[in-house]
Symmetry: C2
Amino acid sequence: MSATTLAEVARKAGVSPATASRVLNGSARIPGPEIAANVRRAALELGYVPNAQAQGLAKSSSGVIGLIVHDIADPYFAAIAHGVQEAARERNKLVMLATTGGTPAEEATAVSAFAAHRADAIILAGSRTTAAADREANSTLANELDLYCRNDGQVAVIGRPVEGTGSPEHHHVIAVPNEDLACQLAGALAATHRGPFLIVAGPEGLATSDDRVRGFHHGLHAAGVPAAEVLHTGLDRAGGHATGAELAPRVAAAHREGAPVCLFAVSDVMAIGLVAGLREGGVQVPRDAAVAGFDDIETLRDFHPGLTTVRLPLLHIGRIAVESTVALPGGAAGAEPTVTGELMLRRSTTAAGQG
Amino acid sequence: MSATTLAEVARKAGVSPATASRVLNGSARIPGPEIAANVRRAALELGYVPNAQAQGLAKSSSGVIGLIVHDIADPYFAAIAHGVQEAARERNKLVMLATTGGTPAEEATAVSAFAAHRADAIILAGSRTTAAADREANSTLANELDLYCRNDGQVAVIGRPVEGTGSPEHHHVIAVPNEDLACQLAGALAATHRGPFLIVAGPEGLATSDDRVRGFHHGLHAAGVPAAEVLHTGLDRAGGHATGAELAPRVAAAHREGAPVCLFAVSDVMAIGLVAGLREGGVQVPRDAAVAGFDDIETLRDFHPGLTTVRLPLLHIGRIAVESTVALPGGAAGAEPTVTGELMLRRSTTAAGQG
DNA sequence: ACTGATTGGGAAAGCGCATTCCCGTTGTGT
DNA sequence: ACACAACGGGAATGCGCTTTCCCAATCAGT
């Protein structure tokens, strides 16, 4: 059996389709109460479900927000998605999800798909990449976004703008002060930690990772601490874990020699993997080495020892991404789009007899 | 500037809209190569983006899969969403996400919204509830689902079927052997643990929680162990944490008296909160008490001490939910829809001098 | 070379709904 | 009592696309 249409409802209620349309959705003109009741009853009896596609086609607005993330299973993105979802619901919008694995090429196809669905807005979460290999894909992405904007689409990018896009009035950048916060973190750690610093970073060219590395370097430099060595690996638990296992002997040696290492992983999930890898290599945190992360992922806050990190208001970031891009039903625009973080100094960087 | 339409592309290419349509999407009839090239070039030059809504309206298929979860920030649902997303992409479908906080009423509105968008399938993840207070909302949900099915929608439910729905040929239940696995877990724990058992459950009436509690009871009973006390709390980290804090003195006392408690939290996130709460109350796991969880959430596998739990193939569950519900482009149906779990016995239930 | 089958393209009819116009009816002002 | 405004409802058009149906042109077959 096929879906019942507005026309059928109208016929059953003995009115015109126009009238039925007016009563069944908040139109400016509200038909008389008796007629309205009739229509509503007919709709109910027939099990009428409005066809959002037809509505969207007629109104040229789909009521959909597109969200693009690297990996929804990553708690970082899950938290952002949560915020997006909340704000979307307040606006009576649905959210469409695309996961891309972080490649600009996949992001471009996701944008294209969302554009095809005439999404009211597209939110692009996840680090931009500046790697040379992605240059072409990045420009494809920029083109796709421009195309979308030409059709009156709004896009919000979390972190950093996409290189090479035009129409800035359609682009909203939710800037995340990664560099500044990493700098602060480095300063705080340098104040208490005696010994060399090591940075466990994501792949080279990942903007978020690069920003945090750069900030950490600055912070160290400002504190008069020798520059940290940087190790590049995967921006996930596995990358951290592998690096931890690899580094364990060296870290253990450093500790024996009285110059324990402080490791900064550019994300919490990496830090967690790192700690696990070190532990499997016989290194205890914070006894033998200090470890810090970034993001303050909620699920990881109960980790033991408590992980020193930087809290990012992920949920809020998701919210303001949609706030900056689609107005509330009431009409008011959203809150101010500033994102700030907060240092969370916990046990993982507090060795006994230190601090 | 408004979007360019197929008609404009057709005019520019000097062909009819019909022909343009045929070349720009895989139609059965493929126009001549020269004409096709013309059309493609025109589309490119004009920056044509097909209107998926119009396509959906004309074809009556939207290419969208609706996913309903309690909370996307919960790693349990995030993992399922990941699997859904993967399988959806293989089928060239987009996924629409709705988070409901677990209330059947919200689930019903989500189903309604997805039905309005003519989603090709709806996947309902997250525990059903049998609480009396939800009776009415549950039947609303069932109605909404039936309405959706009447319009040829396919629905997959993860865990347990929704009570009161008809048209079983449209409903696919991805059964999760919660009860059986909890039973096995209880048996394994009873074999090594000496001391009373305590179950930290979710709200009463939550099917998943209830199933796991029941299974655990059975397992204990089969092992000849006295029945466990059940404590109901929130099915999240906060619930586990509060219960842990509350229980700490009692657990500590039990340990002092030589009869350490084994706590079974019905989900990993609860277990993590529980451990944290206990620790804040001075109870060390596994030294003073044993703790087990359920799900084997990936992000939590690096937890220390390793959490004894039951591994559920969450990603796979997400995959088969879509496989059972929308065919592959190739045409073949999906894999067999059986879900199995695996006991993961780790340190959290292995006190020194035991096991 | 003539008929019948096949191919390649166009015309047009929807898909389900919103909305602009239009018209008949009732209410207000002097 | 009459003109005019305001209101409440219907007819019709269009949103952008797919797809059937139809027609002209080409092809093979005896």
